[in-house]
């Protein structure tokens, strides 16, 4: 393959944008706005370049595509291995799509320490893209950990009152999970070496490693813990409401829109296919926890006085659907789950942006402070209502497709779980609509709200793509689905116990032979 290393370009372009910002002084207003423009343009360029992945990507091939493979630490079989398949493909586009929108939303919200903020955002984008592209488990881990540092700063420096507590909690929860995962990664690699004699961290080689049953279960458990914290699954979700409430709007959008997907993505890419037996062993537990998460998240969201916290708990509920969809292990469930990841990125991202818009004007997020503002901000109210419907899962919006497919898959596999999960849809409608009713309808009760300005041109500009996406994904799901089918088939055959997962097609380039020939 002699084509340009597209994934490397996409991943490291945001980082290039950091360099010019370093030389701009942020003392003057002109300098600050220059920094904003540099990072906005960088992220838009990244989005445009990432669209080329769409051209280069063939939805009929199950293997990883656009593969780049270079040896990195040859003495331990670690390589710089990047590639996409139908699952990571859309998540990469989601990342490059949401980042410019987020950056545009911070135009007036971030006033202090502007340079540091945009540097953090761009570094974060590089780390997120790297995490989705990495096919070497060590490389993945490196990006996964790097991601923590800018997010720690975004929450901790630009967040609300209890920001330091939230930042540390976010960091420690993720770090503890992922450090245990590191031990198991190394263990897995040595088991693989024992079986084949090849020391490698290459994911495509490690698939199909047979482990003693007990280790399979242990390793899966520690991988699952690391990813479940990120998802977040009940009961390790407690960092999420804190982090969301304290984070600045941009932080919340990225956190909900993309970072949470890393957890579910980790299950799809690593935990489940690497340890199919361990995964099967824990299936009942994970389905139970997902259903608890769906209902618990919805119930707790219902009673939140704070809009942002409400949206945060709704994330717990939505991500519960994603996990349920993955674990029913059939075409509908898994595809629905991946679709729901994208939906959640767009709808919840949009909700956080909308909450941010009124927060910037009124500096409060309490539902009781508002009421009747549909009259004062009609355009805002319209957008908010559309996004709400998408979050509830009304037909013609994206949310419907995802939830419907997941429930369809769940009915095939586990009727009880499906029935219970379906009740979450109703609860979701209740808490969202109730909140909308209290905030937007009725009389204007609080005189402070009388002078609220409706959305500005800039705000419309960044909300519009999201609204378009909501309908596009709701009306033409096949445009998105057709790229997934083959990869999802492969994923299911890797994880299902009945299939012989040792005979999977390997990646076109044989990793070990390449590394060894270079080594000599």
């Amino acid at each position: 393959m002699t084509q340009a290393p597209l994934l490397t370009y996409v991943t490291f372009l945001p980082f290039l944008g950091v360099i010019p910002t370093l030389f701009v002084s942020q003392k003057s207003e002109a300098g600050r706005s220059l920094i904003r423009w540099i990072s906005l343009i960088t992220s838009i360029i990244v989005f445009i370049v990432s669209l080329r992945i769409y051209n280069g990507f063939d939805g009929n091939i199950a293997d990883f595509q656009l593969v780049e493979l270079k040896s990195w630490i040859p003495s331990f079989g670690i390589s710089y291995h990047m590639g996409v398949d139908g699952i990571s493909f859309w998540l990469i586009l989601l990342t490059t799509f949401l980042t410019p929108i987020t950056i545009l939303s911070t135009w007036t919200a971030i006033e202090k320490r502007v340079k540091e903020f945009y540097i953090s955002m761009l570094v974060l984008e590089t780390a997120m893209l790297g995490t989705f592209c990495a096919l070497d488990i060590f490389l993945f881990y490196v990006f996964w950990e790097i991601m923590l540092i800018p997010m720690y700063f975004i929450i901790g420096v630009w967040g609300g009152e209890r920001r330091i507590y939230a930042a540390i909690k976010f960091f420690l929860f993720t770090a503890v999970g992922s450090l245990l995962m590191l031990v198991c990664i190394i263990g897995l690699v040595y088991f693989h070496k024992e079986a084949t004699g090849v020391l490698t961290f290459n994911l495509t080689e490690l698939y199909g490693t047979t482990l003693p049953h007990i280790y399979e279960i242990l390793f899966f458990a520690s991988f699952a813990l690391a990813f479940a914290i990120k998802v977040p699954m009940w009961p390790v979700h407690t960092w999420l409401p804190d982090a969301h409430v304290e984070a600045p709007t941009a932080g919340s959008v990225i956190l909900a829109g993309i970072l949470l997907k890393m957890g579910t993505y980790g299950f799809v890419r690593f935990a489940m296919p690497l340890f199919p037996d361990g995964s099967a062993f824990f299936t009942p537990l994970i389905i139970t926890l997902s259903v608890i998460g769906i209902i618990y998240g919805a119930l707790v969201a219902m009673v939140q006085p704070d809009v942002k916290k409400l949206v945060a708990y709704s994330s717990v509920s939505h991500l519960g659907y994603c996990m349920l969809g993955l674990y029913v292990l059939n075409q509908q469930g898994v595809e629905g789950s991946i679709y729901q990841m994208l939906n959640h990125g767009i709808s919840t991202g949009a909700l956080f942006l909308l909450v941010g818009i009124v927060y910037e004007r009124r500096h409060t997020r309490l539902i009781s402070e508002y009421g009747g503002i549909a009259k004062i901000m009609p355009v805002y109210a319209t957008i908010f209502f559309i996004v709400t419907l998408s979050s509830i899962g009304l037909p013609t919006t994206n949310g419907f497709i995802g939830e419907f497919l997941i429930l369809l898959g769940a009915f095939k596999a586990n009727k009880l779980a499906a029935v219970l999960a379906a009740s979450g849809v109703i609860l979701g409608a209740i808490y969202m609509l109730w909140m909308v009713q209290r905030v937007f309808y009725g009389e204007v009760t609080n005189p402070k709200n009388l002078n609220l300005k409706d959305v500005s041109c800039r705000e419309v500009v960044y909300m519009l793509p999201l609204v378009v996406c909501i309908f596009w994904m709701g009306l033409f799901p096949n445009f998105f689905m057709e790229k997934m089918h083959v990869s999802v088939d492969k994923f299911i055959s890797q994880v299902s116990k009945n299939n012989n997962y040792h005979n999977l097609p390997k990646c076109q380039i044989h990793h070990a032979s390449l590394i060894q020939s270079e080594h000599k």
């Binding site: 630490i73 003495s75 490196v142 950990e145 420096v157 920001r163 450090l179 245990l180 190394i186 263990g187």
Partner: protein
């Protein structure tokens, strides 16, 4: 493999040039300081001598890289062994020496304590550390250990008028003597049992079937205690926080890296050459009783596993409750010793390579952190507590960024050298099947990240409580900090080169016999 060695200057230069340069330069600088430069201004004198010292260490470093790196022989009637393993640690030590000298030049200027003894003592300490790593003779090792230690005892008391500096020196001196005595007693026991103090001879004699005898274990325990003291391994770590806190920041950085590197180098050599179960499979005919040797590993491995675990836990846990950044870094350096001990415990190629890699990157990040610490400190004891660090990130962006970088590396987060080093040592113990130990150890690393991050949030996320005037960034400090920062990032992103070098270095340990 003893070389036929006739005394000639050329030969002497070839095998011991590095040591000779340091020793002669130290003596010459004393004379120069006393007689030649009496008239000149103190500040100027100190900085001239400082740069001279840098040049001297650089010369020794070049000699080691060019000449001693190529050697594989035991010289001076079996006292020193010149092989890549020693050369690697010597390079680490000399690098630490250069960094500490560069910081020292700035420190002396900022604190207006213009005395050039700092550099002379530093050269002696470096000489001692190097000789200790290169020796294969327990008695020589002891002498080198003492040369190093005495110089550092004096360095700890460098701020003559500061009571805490004096306290640190006295404490270090008393406890240090105790540690050295243990080492000497262990040596004496082994000499009594085997009739030799040479490491490989001891192994050969013991292999006749004496390993099971309790005296041997007592001797080994004594030697371990002596060296663990210098390495600051729990339960021989009690002196560390007080001494590190009381000594001048640059000396603390020097102590935490050079002494640790020297002691780790010597300890790994003793364990591998004399007491390693790997000897049993080395195929050397002299080792009669293969089984005896193999079973010996069981004893010290249990001890090392326990101390490593305790060291990681106590170092990290106690660091959490520290308010003083210097004291916190002292506990963190205890914790780091625990991680390095894991590599020795694994006793495989990866483990020894990991220890070497860890020592090298630890030197960069730790000295870097202490370098920034002394700059933030300004005049000594100006800003030491976490509270003083509040909000410095925006007033002193360069200082704070470097501090954050070194601390992130110590916390073991990618893409820094600290992450790769931890990865290597954990990899080596997991390879040997120590899953539980690795999992517990890595959890302590999560505890560690908590207190490292706390400094970072003090720097960036809090508003300042009082005005802090940081010290001026001198040219010498800037050079050293840039070198350390680039090193930390380079070793974190492209570790292969140094890993290969460390691998080559550790594989020469077997040549010592």
């Amino acid at each position: 493999m003893y070389s036929d060695y006739a005394f000639s200057l050329e030969q002497l230069w070839k095998i011991a040039g590095g040591q000779l340069v340091l020793l002669l330069a130290a003596l010459l600088i004393i004379c120069a300081d006393l007689f030649l430069m009496q008239k000149s201004d103190d500040t100027k004198k100190a900085s001239v001598i400082g740069w001279l010292t840098v040049a001297v260490i650089m010369a020794a470093l070049l000699h080691v890289i060019n000449r001693e790196w190529q050697l594989t022989e035991v010289v001076f009637m079996g006292v020193f062994s010149m092989e890549k393993y020693s050369a690697f640690i010597v390079i680490t030590i000399l690098m630490a020496g250069i960094l500490a000298t560069l910081f020292g030049i700035g420190y002396i200027r900022n604190n207006k304590v213009c005395r050039s003894e700092y550099f002379i003592l530093l050269l002696f300490a470096l000489y001692g550390a190097i000789a200790m790593v290169q020796s294969v003779d327990l008695l020589m090792m002891f002498i080198a250990l003492e040369i190093m230690s005495v110089a550092v005892y004096v360095l700890a008391a460098f701020l003559k008028k500061d009571r805490r500096s004096q306290e640190a020196a006295i404490k270090y001196f008393l406890l240090g003597c105790f540690g050295s005595a243990f080492f000497l007693f262990g040596t004496a026991l082994l000499y009594g049992l085997t009739g030799t103090v040479n490491l490989s001879f001891i192994a050969k004699v013991l292999s006749v079937g004496m390993f099971e005898r309790p005296e041997v274990l007592v001797a080994l325990a004594m030697i371990m205690a002596g060296l663990f003291f210098k390495m600051a391994i729990v339960p021989f770590h009690m002196w560390t926080p007080d001494v590190y806190e009381g000594s001048p920041a640059v000396v603390t950085g020097f102590m935490a890296t050079v002494i640790k590197a020297g002691a780790f180098g010597a300890f790994l050599k003793i364990i591998t050459v004399t007491f390693s179960p790997a000897l049993a499979y080395s195929g050397q005919p002299v080792f009669h009783s293969v089984l005896n040797l193999a079973s010996l590993g069981v004893y010290w491995k249990a001890v090392i596993a326990a101390s490593a675990l305790l060291t990681m836990f106590i170092g990290n846990l106690v660091a959490v409750s520290q308010k003083n950044v210097k004291r916190m870094l002292a506990y963190s350096s205890i914790a780091h010793a625990g991680y390095m001990l894991l590599g020795i415990l694994a006793a495989n190629d990866e483990g020894r390579m990991g220890v070497l890699y860890y020592l090298f990157s630890y030197t960069l990040m730790n000295l870097g952190a202490f370098g920034v610490l002394y700059l933030i400190d300004g005049t000594e004891r100006n800003a030491q507590t976490l509270e003083d660090y509040q909000g410095l990130g925006y007033k002193y962006p360069v200082h704070s960024f470097l501090m954050a970088l070194f601390l992130i590396s110590m916390a073991g987060l990618p893409p820094t050298a600290g992450f790769i080093s931890k990865f290597y040592v954990f990899l080596s113990v997991i390879k040997e099947g120590y899953f539980v130990l690795a999992a517990l150890g890595i959890l302590t690393s999560a505890i560690g990240s908590y207190y490292y991050l706390r400094v970072i949030y003090m720097l960036y996320m809090k508003e300042p409580v009082r005005e802090i005037e940081c010290g001026r960034m001198t040219l010498s400090s800037a050079v050293a900090l840039i070198f350390a920062a680039i090193g930390v990032l380079y070793l974190g992103i492209l570790p292969e080169w140094l890993a290969q070098v460390a691998q080559a270095a550790q594989s020469t340990l077997a040549f010592v016999f």
